[in-house]
Symmetry: none
DNA sequence: AATGAATGAGAGTTCATTCAT
DNA sequence: GATGAATGAACTCTCATTCAT
């Protein structure tokens, strides 16, 4: 890591707290400049980052490559993200966020915990199968960053795990799942199993369609294992 | 079990005849491969690497830091390992190797597949709980080296997964396990679950003893889930 | 990971030729003191390289020293030259190129081959006497880069020798020179003799003006030797 | 140049005085055990050095490679030569010495200066054709070392040039050669021409036998050019 | 806001040299 | 004398980040 500027921990949330004092004759000052027209660029940068990170890994990717893929200048990246590290964190949070929202919407319509848990598994693997680049970023790239980043990204990730754990709790309360196991343990183990399977797939060692079959088998084992 | 402490009597590794490239025909030209001074430098470097990598991550660790921790000069590292990457690979393989040997010995004495699978889980988490630094290297650090990920299914690691899969096969043949799941999928999912749990623990979010409890719960769920 | 694209070098245009000396719109008076930092970085680096290479030799010169002498950052060197080696190559080719252009212009006005050959000798030694550092780079330093030696007959240098050989051919055809000697041999031997003389001079063993006298004597001998 | 210890000559300048050994207070005790039994080893090292220097160049050759080629340990080199630089200087001096002795013996039997000069040319090119490795060292490698080395080796080299110049003087005094040229200039130009031709040949761009033809042509031109 | 040329602190790695055996 | 494992200073090249335009 070169010139590691401001360490990530100090920044609680919004990445864009850059100097807002000098607004030279541009559009009206916006409380959230990044969301105006910049929102477009921000998203373009994130999309480009997914692509190149997936291809070359985090440490193997130069910021200039992300910039080029996004069609912006190198310096522009730093108008939206404080550092390369933060770019990865933002990417991770943004994508996990969407996954979480999508998942919650899907689960709401399902009758009981077993169905929901099965859907969780299908969703996670299905998403990955649909977006291989994103799969790589989430399963592989995020681990290449420093421990600090991982911890910084943990809250958002924790929310995802919590959602799974919540399904387990619901199942336990409804009498569908055994109560002698920790919901969070189940959530984490499930995630780990899925992640491991996805990693194998993402690295190209499994054929298309394998994820769907794997999802079914994993769900079968897990749901039976959770019977009271 | 034999001497479990740091005792590598198996292969008296010679100090890496770099760029020797001599044709692999004939005995080693060096009649005195024995150490002349100092102790086992290679092992000392590996031990130091575990410590420092666990603390700062792979990319965050300078080779000079490993050297310093090992009490050798920077250049000495390169007498035993071709590069920083290879140091990590060697570390990984060396440790997984030991785990595999140990595991095979343990499993041989157990009566059936369910007992073996439970033992596998206990062993992996138990090892990690005993060596937190090693846990971190195996679960976290190893993924920070892109080259390594490419060889993720490297012989050593593949052998470990195969060993687990073999237990599943044995259980299926003996009628203890259901046969509608892929042994390798189970092996990989199990590893992923264990890895994920260990990762959580290694990152400091779980207290001591948690791994043992986790192992039991995970084994309970998994074994029930595998019932025919 | 190599900077594959977007390399400023190879383009005769300078990266920053805009902010030259006169502002196209605005008062010429500059509130800021003449920065004079702008300008031709590539040429400044080459000029600095001549100086430093001549002083310390190729292997004895650190890239940072060239950068310092050129008044740029270390990294800037690599914006214009791919490597230290290429810096030397570029230096060589650039200078030989200029010499060649100059020489061709000079020779065009001369009546016959003997006059031209004499002029070639005067030019080469004259140039070197005027730029002692350059003399050293061309005669001494250039041979310190093994890769360069492999390309010793590189286009530029080959073109220079060819130009000399062409004069010999012209002389032979016109009956001014004997025909029982190879033009290329004469060209090479002439260059070698000049180079050797310049080397002696560059190493400080000859006084000022000696090169001019040497040129005349060498020309006298060579021209008489070439008589039919 | 790494850790350049004890530079060969006592240089008033301090271009490379880093890590300056701080003048050993004790007596010089210049260890030159070379003439004991080591004479054999010394020669073996020199012979090996010719070979590997010719193959890889001076800077491209590791001391350990010379040691290996000589069949001695790395450290042994330093029992016979103070440094890698001094090894090259010694090599140069030793070989030029032999060439000089041989040449003087050959010239003694020849009748006049023209015959001697022709023989000089034949000898130098002939020697090189017979020992291509040595040719490379003398023509190529010696130039890759620092200026310091070149100056240090100059005296010995000067003796060789002096011998050639002496032939010219003899010819001038006997009325065979014109007197309006400097003998040393002729000597140096001759050497340079020969060297340049040999360099071309050594680099593999000329076929076998070419040197002999080149020698004849060069001698023809030179001798005619020197006629009174 | 956007640009991209310029920056410069490093880090991995090499290898001449040393010295305990 | 001989050895060769160990040393560690030095050096090239990279690339995240900055800032003048």
């Amino acid at each position: 890591m070169r010139r590691t500027a401001a360490s990530p921990p100090a920044t609680p949330t919004k990445p864009n707290s850059r100097r807002a004092e000098s607004a030279p004759s541009g559009p009206p000052a916006n409380p959230k400049p990044a969301r105006t027209r910049g929102g477009d660029k921000r998203e373009r940068i994130l999309a480009a980052a997914v692509k190149v990170f997936a291809k070359s890994g985090f440490h193997g990717t130069r910021v200039s490559e992300v910039a080029k893929a996004a069609g912006v200048a190198d310096g522009t990246i730093y108008l939206y993200f404080r550092s390369k590290d933060e770019l990865l964190v933002s990417l991770f949070e943004d994508r996990v966020d969407k996954l979480l929202v999508h998942m919650n919407a899907e689960l709401a319509n399902l009758p009981d915990a077993p169905a929901k848990l099965r859907r969780v598994i299908e969703l996670q693997l299905g998403l990955l199968e649909g977006e291989r680049d994103l799969a790589e970023v989430i399963t592989v790239i995020i681990r290449q960053s420093s421990k600090l980043i991982k911890e910084y990204a943990a809250p958002k990730f924790g929310a995802y795990l919590d959602a799974i754990a919540q399904v387990v709790v619901e199942g336990q309360n409804a009498g569908h799942f055994r109560k002698d196991v920790s919901p969070h343990l189940v959530a984490r183990a499930t995630y780990g199993a899925l992640d491991s399977i996805a990693l194998l797939w993402a690295l190209g060692r499994a054929e298309q369609g394998a994820l769907v079959r794997s999802a079914k088998q994993l769900a079968d084992v897990l749901l039976r294992g959770l019977l009271p």
